[in-house]
Amino acid sequence: MSTVDNTMKEANDGQEVCKKKRIPAEVSILLVLVGISIMFEILGWIFVGQSFLMNMSRLQIIILQVSVIGIIAIGVTMIIITGGIDLSSGSVVAMSAMIAATFAQSSSWPKVISPSLTDLPFVIPLAVGLAVGAAAGFVNGWLVTKTRIPPFIATLGMMVSARGVARWYTDGSPVSGFTNEFAMLGNALDRWMPVVIFIVVAIIFHVVMRYTRFGKFTYAIGANPQAARVSGINIDRHLIKVYAIAGLLVGLAAMVAIARIKTAQAGMGLMYELDAIAAAVIGGVSLSGGRGRIAGTVIGALILGVMLSGFTFLRIDAYYQDIIKGAIIVTAVIIDQQRQNKRKKTT
């Protein structure tokens, strides 16, 4: 045993307390956003001969486009954090829009769908839209928890059915002629209303996810459902809440969208679900659940918006836009994956 004694040193009992500076993942995504903006600015001066950023109306269009997708993406982010997915949001936008729109028409419009429901105060169509969205979300959540089918399938079913409801509700004819009061939802505050709604929603849910029990439960379920259960969390009830709230946000997005463009169509919201998921993923939300932040998703949505606007600004063909967009989404996930691997290897 002598060799042992020789090589033995007293175990270092004092704990190492070296505080590492932690940079939140959102900062790096924000840098990407800044980088892309600067890139378009430079390319703009070279190829178009004008500034990309110093153009108020362009910035307003970018952020307006982002608002609708952004509101949806906030709900989708919560679902993804629980380890789920929501493919139905685009179709639910159309369904909520079509149903709510029939409650929002003005009696002065020549093609009124239901004459008994004209000139109602704006809260009625708004409430109807939110309720339809929340109901769809509730059904998604109920299917996921009570029948145990994967969220992918449950929301795929909802995606197809909700689109069907949207078409059937008015036999495919679009609904327009909203009351001025309702149209304010999309145009008040010098047309900044959707942006204000988006920012308010983002702040509320950022706080909810970080500082409330609801948020903590959401992360815990996504990180490890079994451990969450043993920690006393009622998983089914919580998941249904999350899906219903996400649905509610989809309903809200639909209201903002139709109020802004002043018409509801059964075909609207196509591919919104994928844009929302893309915004979350670009924003660092992990598809395996348990990781991600609302702030990241907001930045992710902005990146998508800036890209779209930048391509149009540079007069890049729409086909190329889609090709590049796809590549960006995949790149974002690759980077995220590597970041996670690095996290694991540091110890």
């Binding site: 042992v4 090589t7 505080k19 815990a220 259960r229 006393g232 348990g290 990781r291 694991k344």
Partner: protein, 517 residues
């Protein structure tokens, strides 16, 4: 180099190929160092394995055992130093190269394809082909049977892996390793999840392999296994090689001393505590097909040990009491009042806490940080206000203080829990339940897979809790732990309570008698 081992030998039906016994060591690791960003995982270590011996690798979590094994198995490349197989230096760029050179590793988390059959798993990439170049399933079946005969394994080659128990999956892994005619077989804590009978069978197979001249590297945390199966052992600590000894002439205390670097004088710091009122009383609890008619009491300040073989229903009783899988019939009383616990939340509200058996599966939130992990069970009460807002400031202070008390080794509370060692993870999980200030604490395998130092700390902590009047139920597969810590020992066998022994009458023999009937 042994050419028979290099080529992918398909036929194992014949006799074992002759092994070259001329070398003193079948495997030698010389001055190997390996570092990761910020950590020197292996610091100039060595290891020498003789053919036909079982060589145990001992050390606390984080000592470098796993890293060293990954170097030998070709998963990591060493920064410096060399690995010699049968006296010749080899470079192992990939796990496949290591496997083909005759080094096989059986990982703790078994790496089998669950949806494929036993035979398919064993012969993957080496499937026998018929004249048309298609896979010859009947030949593969026969080859598997021959292999199993040699190893005395009784499994259906066509069974799907997902239908097998953990122990049987391990047998498949061993058979697969042997099918490569490996010279060196590395086993990483093979007994951590299997029953005592299965352990006996495993040891039988290991002895058989030893007789065939294979050098077996055996990583374990269990001291008793070292004395039972190992011929020699090497100790590692903090990435450094401490020494190699024959297991016949050392004592338990000496090994612990080498592993920890200091004396762990008292393994079980049991103290006499004045017992209080009966806090928890379980009467005739039954869950059809799992356990039957289970009754017992636990008093304030008492530690009630649960002993019994794996699969005897110990953990199921705990899960039923805590509402994870509620029982079909029977009653649970807390402080003389009957309670109806339908889910874990009810149990927490009644002052119960439950450290589950499987740290990874039902304990940790691996993607979250320490803070979030330690706080997950207290979001129901004192720390949440009316609006559902969490009193983060107050909670953070309490959790940080607790981590300090539990001596969790971490730079800060925002460290991801997956970056902690097993022992530290366990401390965080225990912290999670202490934060709820439980009156009844159920610990299921509180020290499984964690190192000696952390073990002793957890035992001390449990003793302190008993002092404060907490009623503790401690389930453990390690009999010395149950005997050392408990005031009374409840023994289960096939879902029934076969006896409750007082501390004075409980010993290895009396407990095993009740446990094995």
């Amino acid at each position: 180099m042994n050419s028979a081992a290099v080529e992918e030998t398909v036929s194992v039906s014949g006799a074992t190929p002759p092994r070259d016994h001329s070398c003193e060591y079948v495997l030698e690791v010389v001055n190997v160092s390996k570092s990761f960003p910020g950590v020197l995982a292996l610091d100039d270590v060595q290891l020498k394995i003789r053919p036909g011996t079982v060589h145990a690798l001992m050390g606390e979590n984080g000592a470098g055992k796993s890293t060293l094994m990954k170097v030998i198995a070709g998963i990591y490349q060493p920064d410096s130093g060399e690995v010699k197989l049968r006296g010749e230096t080899i470079t192992l760029e990939t796990p496949l190269k290591a496997q083909q050179s005759g080094i096989a590793m059986i990982h703790q988390e078994l790496l089998l394809m669950n949806q494929m059959t036993v035979a398919e798993n064993i012969w993957i990439r080496r499937e026998p082909k018929n004249a048309f170049g298609f896979i010859d399933h009947s030949e593969m079946h026969k080859m598997t049977e021959d292999l199993f005969d040699r190893l005395n394994i009784h499994l259906d080659p066509d069974a799907e892996i997902s239908t097998l128990s953990v122990a049987n999956r391990q047998m498949v892994e061993i058979a697969k390793a042997v099918s490569f005619n490996s010279d060196v077989l590395i086993m990483d804590e093979p007994t951590s999840a299997i029953t005592e009978t299965e352990v006996a069978h495993l040891f039988e197979i290991i002895r058989g392999l030893r007789k065939q001249g294979i050098g077996i590297v055996y990583i374990t945390h269990k001291m008793s296994e070292l004395f039972e199966i190992a011929d020699e052992f090497s100790v590692f600590r903090d990435g450094k090689y401490i020494g190699t000894h024959a297991s016949a002439n050392v004592t338990r205390d000496e090994i612990i001393h080498m592993m920890v670097g200091r004396n762990v004088d008292q393994m079980f710091p049991k103290e006499e505590v004045e017992l209080g009122e009966v806090l928890l009383s379980v009467k005739n609890l039954t869950l059809e097909g799992v356990f039957n008619d289970v009754s017992f009491d636990v008093r304030a300040g008492e530690i009630l040990g649960f002993a019994g073989l794996v699969g005897s229903g110990r953990s199921n009783v705990a899960e039923a009491i805590f509402g994870v899988t509620p029982a079909d019939s029977g009653t649970v009383w807390i402080e003389g009042e009957e309670v109806h616990i339908k889910n874990p939340n009810d149990a927490i509200m009644k002052g119960m806490a439950f450290l589950t058996e499987d740290r990874k599966e039902t304990g940790c939130f691996l993607s979250l940080d320490i803070q979030e992990n330690i706080q997950s069970a207290v979001l129901h009460e004192n720390f949440v206000n009316g609006g559902g807002f969490v009193d983060q400031a107050k909670l953070n202070i309490e959790s940080e203080e607790l981590c300090r008390k539990l001596r969790v080794k971490t730079p800060d509370m925002e460290e991801a829990i997956e970056n902690l060692s097993g022992g530290n993870q366990q401390k965080v999980l225990i912290g999670r339940w202490l934060l709820t200030h439980p009156r009844i604490l159920i610990l299921d395998e509180p020290t499984r897979g964690i190192d000696v130092g952390a073990k002793a700390e957890i035992h001390t902590l449990v003793t302190q809790l008993a002092h404060k009047g907490v009623a503790v139920i401690m389930i453990s597969s390690e009999l010395p732990e149950v005997l050392g810590m408990s005031d009374r020992v409840l023994v289960m066998h096939e879902g029934r309570v076969t006896g409750i022994l007082d501390r004075s009458e409980a010993d290895q023999v009396s407990v095993m008698k009740l446990a094995a009937q």
